[in-house]
Symmetry: C2
Subunit: 196 residues, 2 copies
């Protein structure tokens, strides 16, 4: 389990989130973050390039977990991607809903951070599709399975962080994957969509 | 039909694309574009805010066509989105592959234009999901149908502009939609879902 531990990295990430929420992203300095975590600036810069990194360093672990799960899962390409995101839900997000909600609210308040989050999702998608192709999956199928899986993860994640939710992220992923299957399944054979 | 016509807007868009390809986006001025189109700068600024707009003004028409088609189509939400993109293929893109290829190569060479293209796609997705909700479709279904439809369109579009393709965009949308259905269908397919 890669759950959050009270090590220097985790303490600095938690301190950064607290301060971003209390003061806003722009108004928080690396010195503030290090002080709140009971550490010094040198330790911060040993672990993170800048204060934005304290919000995004988890993306690398997430990508590693997803790619490893894709390589290890024996299922159809779409089921493989869904299984990989369920592993992420169990290994990275379980028990961290409060911190994730704070992180989301910080990112939603800052367009620059939103763009970075979008780019990270784009690079995750490229990595997942590449991992599927490495297993012999054709290019179009790899892209479609990856994009569909990421859509499921994004919708499930939004439900998970929404106020009032008490379902686990992994259960929400299963639920939304079933909904996607229902949404994209053929309505009936020979339906004519051409004219209206 | 909203096919390209040799009006001022169309002439300026075509001139801009030619010059962006010949000289690069940064090296082209509005004066150059107007001169190439046989028009003056004043006419350019009456139609476009800046030279980037000459690449992106089609997005508004695309969104209008998609939203109108979503409102008019009677089908499942996913089929509705697919039908809307087929209408876009027929009404906007048919016969314009050469210009679209030039536009793609200009955008791919410029990260700022890529980000703008991504943002436009995001705002199109929001508009399509809203149009589905206006028809009474639930929020999650609307999001899943929209994201799946946009994935189909993006993959079909990439195949359409790829070197060597000679299929029509509308046929590629039908083909990729069928592939998406197959990719996301339950792992044990029923015999009535079609050939595997």
């Amino acid at each position: 389990m890669a759950r959050w531990q009270p090590d220097a990295r985790g303490r600095l990430e938690a301190a950064a989130l607290e301060l971003f929420r209390e003061r806003g992203f722009e108004q928080t300095t690396v010195t503030d973050i290090a002080a709140r975590a009971g550490l010094d600036k040198r330790t911060f810069y040993r672990l993170f390039g800048d204060k934005r990194e304290a919000l995004f360093s988890g993306g690398k672990l997430l990508e590693e977990v997803v790619i490893k799960a894709v390589a290890e899962t024996e299922a159809t390409p779409f089921e493989t991607v869904i299984a990989a995101f369920r592993r992420v839900a169990d290994e990275i997000f379980a028990g961290r809903l409060d911190m994730v909600r704070v992180r989301q609210s910080v990112i939603e308040a800052n367009p620059e951070l939103q763009e970075r989050e979008l780019r990270k999702m784009g690079s995750l998608a490229a990595a997942v599709a590449a991992a599927l192709r490495d297993k012999g999956v054709g290019e179009t199928t790899a892209t479609l399975a990856t994009e569909s899986g990421i859509t499921v993860f994004r919708v499930a994640f939004a439900r998970w962080v929404a106020a009032g939710n008490d379902a686990s992220l992994t259960d929400l992923i299963i639920e939304v994957a079933a909904e996607l299957r229902a949404v994209t399944s053929a309505p009936e054979p020979h339906s004519d969509l051409g004219q209206s």
